[in-house]
Amino acid sequence: MKYIEEFQDPDLARRLLDDIHATVTRPWALMEVCGGQTHTIIRHGIDQLLPEQVELIHGPGCPVCVTPLEVIDKALEIASRPDVIFCSFGDMLRVPGTGRDLFQVRSEGGDVRVVYSPLDALKVARQNPGREVVFFGIGFETTAPPNAMTVYQAKRLGIPNFSLLVSHVRVPPAIEAIMRSPSCRVQGFLAAGHVCSVMGTGEYPELAARHRVPIVVTGFEPLDILEGVRRAVRQLERGEHTVDNAYARAVRPEGNPAALAMLEDVFEVTDRAWRGIGVIPDSGWRLSARYREFDAEHRFAVTGITTREPAECRSGEVLQGLLKPHECEAFGTTCTPRTPLGATMVSSEGACAAYYLYRRLELTPARTAPPAPAGPHASTAPLEASPVA
């Protein structure tokens, strides 16, 4: 418990850890769904504080990471048009498409702007009636309601030069796909807390029962993660598989009814491709017929996209929990946050970036790179200087 003093409440952290250690009797594999949770786990070395029998597997819950290459390439093409102002969240600037990223499009003269909120993109559209303003609408159930509201407002206010490039994804079908995979090792889930703030917990009991897997709604702070693990392990040891809310201060069972109503109005469920994973049935949203006029894909009819994923990038296996980032041959050598091959390395919520930033470099003996010292903060040979101050 070397790093436990870094916790906000070290005494509580110690009590939670003691309880987990006292409870566990055999190996269990838990998946944290959200990239923000992965970040917290690696940053605080939580996986190293847990008993050896409890393994945390990193899930696909980073919206930046799972946005398909084809959609990124469409964004790059639309953003390059001289009549377009392309608005995006800052996280997307350096996500590699086939050959370049939004940062490069901007350096080549494209009008790419970063906004804090999708409503800011709508303001840009009102201020520039002579140009097309496109917002890059990616994200899970937490981000979809803000984007839905923005399209609703565009229609209500009659702003014709605004459109949304949509690539929204949904968590429950991803959990379903993971559990159906023949190579699945996951026995329990830490569900993403802020997704549940919007959606509530109603989608999970059926999933938990059908796959006999506990699902514990979990927050993002270190103590939240420990409490989520504690509750999941308790269920597993007792042979239970129910939905448990360990983030009650922010999650109500019914979610946010106003946001759910807006999602229902503006979007409709569709199959969606996940980068590195492939198409998952019913795992995404697209604009419903009533709002199709605001769909950038229809407005710009981007065709002829040929995507090319780097052959050595194994982020798809990382996203499915089949491979730890440092087990990839390219990790820390040809693939770094400065020269990312895949989105899991470029997004700050990506598992590869988290491992890189916090020096998780315990390479397996088969690796050709020089052996690296173990430990979350050890300095190491194969990587550049840490980008973290």
Binding site: G90, D111, Q153, S197
Partner: protein, 126 residues
């Protein structure tokens, strides 16, 4: 983008028929849409994601989370200059030379919506 940050409502006003608020995130102030929490009042706390209040939060939880995010530099990640952060991560040159840009608007990059990076860093140290 994944991050949702607790904030305290300072003021509420209608804007184009939409309920909006100014919200304080530990010193960083942003415009936030209240359409999904229409009964949120001045002085209350909520979890805010990409400019939308999504769920109420009690004051103690909000304060603790904000303190932690400050300590960990996560407010800097959320509210700092994204172009500067992207350039730093990629080792690229920033700012771009103005001659390379298409018009005066492109130089802004949305940065006027947020505080300067140094400001956030200063807040984070307090």
């Amino acid at each position: 983008m994944c991050l949702a940050v607790p904030g305290r409502v300072l003021e509420i006003a209608e804007e184009n028929g939409t309920r909006m608020a100014t919200v304080d995130f530990g010193g960083v102030v942003k415009e936030v849409c209240l359409e999904y929490l229409p009964d949120l009042q001045v002085g209350e706390y909520a979890i805010v994601h990409v400019g939308f209040a999504l769920q109420r939060l009690d004051e103690e939880s909000a304060r603790q989370t904000l303190e932690l995010f400050n300590e960990l530099g996560m407010l800097q990640e959320e509210f700092g200059d994204p172009w500067e952060q992207a350039a730093q991560a990629g080792g690229a040159r920033w700012p771009f030379e103005e001659a390379a840009l298409t018009d005066e608007g492109a130089g802004d990059g949305g940065r006027s919506e947020g505080p300067a990076t140094g400001h956030v860093a200063q807040e984070a140290r307090q």
